[in-house]
Symmetry: none
Subunit: 198 residues, 2 copies
DNA sequence: AGCATAAATAATAA
DNA sequence: TTATTATTTATGCT
């Protein structure tokens, strides 16, 4: 599945080369990486968190993914718009440095995924720190499904929650909390109504 | 201007009716209310503050937001999902009760607005003309340091932010916002990319 | 005049 | 209730 990445991504395309690094390659890499990340149902945040664990502070956080993406954009820009590079303070060199790390990590992620066990949950996203969990943002598709469920049943069973989590690729706890918040939202309406305010 | 509300909001749309109350009407009401609120240049927070004066205890921006959202959700529910109302002790009837209060308030607000005098400032109980903060411009040196930090960590801790603020001689809040905006900028780049721009 | 982006507001996850 | 993300507004700069 990760053949895409291992291929040399030959791009005769252009002389879009900076510091001896072909920006087209970076672009291709980022594209492939994104496809595979989505294929695993992972968010950039999750990847970033996971990397911060396995790779240390130098590669910590989702900035890496985003930075890479920015480079992809920049790589496509014509030379006259090269100033965007400067604006974002992103160097092609740092992108090059990122690649092997992401490759290695994605390879392991896919292996774990293929094996089917623990659904990546322990591989991605557990920070040892006690910091507040990063706010996850649900995809519109996920929200659609969640809302549909909520309309049928505001109190899904544990099994249902687990099923949804698995189906959507989010942590179980995240789904559970979503239902809590959703119920709370409805309750707020009740409170306001009873106060005659609304 | 408030004709929109006073109209019976005839909606032939569906049989989305509970207890003789058309849920579509509630939904339409929430929509109309928002439009008119914006038309008066009022924020959710301001409405909440004003209502807390005339109607009772204070309501936060979040409360207003979630309450209206819940209404819209409730209005979208089909009759077969009526159990949600029962479960949460929300009756369409009480939803119906909401409308007049908001209508009354909005009507007075708009009359005051139309009369032009005091420009609502005493009607909504808030500080007159809180000026927008002057846009700060960062020195290139400051930006360099901030970007360097951002590359390492897009989500600096509170302590880190304070440290940066002190070190650079900017307000803490300014630094915090800078990171928010920076994260956003990167996300936008990613989105553009995924739309095939890149 | 238009752009880049700081600030403000809205929505909602934790 | 708090804190973060998402969206909008508007300002400083070219």
């Amino acid at each position: 599945m990760y053949l895409l990445l291992d291929q040399p991504t030959i791009s005769q395309s252009s002389g879009n080369v900076v510091d001896g690094i072909n920006l087209e390659d970076i672009k291709e890499f980022a594209k492939a990486f994104k496809l595979r990340r989505l294929g695993l149902g992972l968010t950039q945040t999750q990847v970033g968190q996971a990397l911060s664990v396995t790779e240390g502070p130098a590669y910590s956080q989702s900035a890496i993914c985003s930075a890479l993406a920015s480079q992809m954009l920049a790589a496509q820009l014509s030379s006259q718009q090269q100033n965007i590079f400067e604006k974002l303070d992103i160097t092609p060199k740092s992108a090059q440095k990122i690649k092997p790390v992401l490759e290695r990590w994605m390879k392991e992620a896919e292996e774990r995924y293929a094996s089917g066990q623990n659904h990546l949950t322990d591989f991605i996203g557990m920070e040892p720190s006690k910091k507040r969990k990063r706010r996850t943002s649900f995809t519109p598709q996920a929200l659609e499904l969640l809302n549909a469920h909520f309309e049928r049943n505001t109190h899904p069973s544990g099994t249902e929650i687990t099923g949804l989590a698995h189906q959507l690729g989010y942590e179980r706890e995240v789904i559970r909390i979503w239902f809590c918040n959703k119920r709370q939202a409805l309750k707020n309406t009740v409170r306001m109504m009873s106060k005659g305010m609304v």
